[in-house]
Symmetry: C2
Amino acid sequence: MSRPPADPPLTRAPSAAPTVGELSEEELLARVLPLLARPAEQVLLGPGDDCAVLAAPDGRYVISTDTQVQDQDFRLSWPSGVVTTGYDTGVKCAAQNLADVAAMGAVPSALVVSLTLPPQTPVSWPQDFARGLAAGCEAMGARDCAVVGGDLGAGRELSVTATVTGDLEGREPVRRAGAGSGGVVALAGSTGRAAAGVALLEDPRYRPGEDELLDALAQAQLRPCAPVPAGPAAARAGATAMIDLSDGLLRDAGRIAAASDVVVDLDAVAVAALAEPLAPAARLLGADPRDWALAGGEDHGLLAVFPQGVPLPGPFRAIGSCAPAPPGNGRTRPRVLLDGRAPHLALGHPVGEGWDHFEP
Amino acid sequence: MSRPPADPPLTRAPSAAPTVGELSEEELLARVLPLLARPAEQVLLGPGDDCAVLAAPDGRYVISTDTQVQDQDFRLSWPSGVVTTGYDTGVKCAAQNLADVAAMGAVPSALVVSLTLPPQTPVSWPQDFARGLAAGCEAMGARDCAVVGGDLGAGRELSVTATVTGDLEGREPVRRAGAGSGGVVALAGSTGRAAAGVALLEDPRYRPGEDELLDALAQAQLRPCAPVPAGPAAARAGATAMIDLSDGLLRDAGRIAAASDVVVDLDAVAVAALAEPLAPAARLLGADPRDWALAGGEDHGLLAVFPQGVPLPGPFRAIGSCAPAPPGNGRTRPRVLLDGRAPHLALGHPVGEGWDHFEP
């Protein structure tokens, strides 16, 4: 009678997961860069030299930068028990940066990424980050956006800064300042979902895996999905103003209104429709879903203004309109209205409030 | 008889310096951006929208990113009693980033900057940073390089990430890989000064203000000065390879040698001349000045390779030559030699060693 082979004798203790502190910067890069490198037409010289070289076919490029810091912009582990992975952070990095380019009506072409990692961070974290960043670009319709450089360094807290560039394809940039009275205010993507998500993640009453709707809201915070191709589509359709909804509908609509010297009048029925999918989370937590829809940031939807009568491109739906600004507007009267009246948030936040990094 | 006016009665306690935690992000930006904004021909749209828009006159741009983290890349206060100011950090940010563009033979055109600040940071710190960044650009010959965007956020430690872009002015980029056998290896700027400076700053035997030579070395660490116009000058003169000396002469020369498949043979007399100005610091600290010249990084000089017989542009001086790589080079034999022999550092560092962010 034969016996199954015995386990091989242990010649050494099983090794723990390697940490970034155990590798040199070059060894770490060698494990991370292959997960990001891909050939792309606009990359004339990729990573590995002092700079990358990018094509700017129409003689211009757009540029923006965004940072995420542990415990400020995300928690590594949340009170609900959820853990933020490197993959999540990579997806979020893609969403934040791609949305800024899309909001100019441009097509993202390249990213450079700086990662600051505590030495005890497992090597799998930056590898997962790279996978999330690549998958995020692909999922958000920016498959050809290439990572062309970066910086890896140590710090006490985990921090990610990316800079993105993009191509205007010969069009004029769509600025915040182009909204005209009578214009149609339209939204691509969502608003309030990431805010509902962070409220769930912060609350032990949320039990991940028990309710698909709640889990999807938590995902919207951890892995936001920006409607990137909607940006160039809006520009082609004639949008006259556009902004990335990173700080909340009221605050970001207020920025378009202030830059364009108009009033943005949001449609209460449309806002109620945006709030409706947030209701299950609001019920669980005793929150007001409309507050999230009006003041919650980080969904990275696009808010654009189209001339009246223009057919809205696919992902956009009308949620309001622009009216002329009365004298003194912005100081004595709010820039953003809801059905013609000053909006009030149920939970007493100041109107126009969104996310502020230095708020206590 | 008249008496001098008495001090006005104290109606409130003297206010402490305001901190960034007491301001909103927009209030802070309003205090920092005016210190940076300046009109520049290549800036088609400046800060304030989702992206800036830059001109790329020849249809290409170069891009690179660099991060400095408190206690990793600089100390806020050093054992010698010196304090790193926001102004210092701004100058260093300029040097690091501008040198990367210069090393491609390009002219810096724009910067985006992300600052992560602990809430208790005085508001004067980011203001000083902005002044140092602007002054650094100007002092290093990149007056027209414009800050076109950024991000301000909170964190537990102070961190600065900048991304720089540049214009090749119609020339091909000067890569690391273009060195040919027989080429002249030349240096613009210094090497070892910043390393001597950090050794001084870290040592209580260094007393700031007592010796101008030592103070100048400490300054080279705190406020490095990159020879930025030397980069495009080298490209115009026909340099075939170039690198920013950020990680030390041996390591960065080794990168050119590996990328170009040559051996770089440094001239011992030239290296001794580079080490000579470091001697006073070496005497004080019992160090070897040649080690600093060979292995010290962060001066942000430019190392370039020119074809034999080409007149070297102004700031460059020859410090070695390129020889053919024998078979097996880089594994069994070093890529960088000193007078034809493997270099040895007096203090026993491994040869080819420079700065590594994840080393213990």
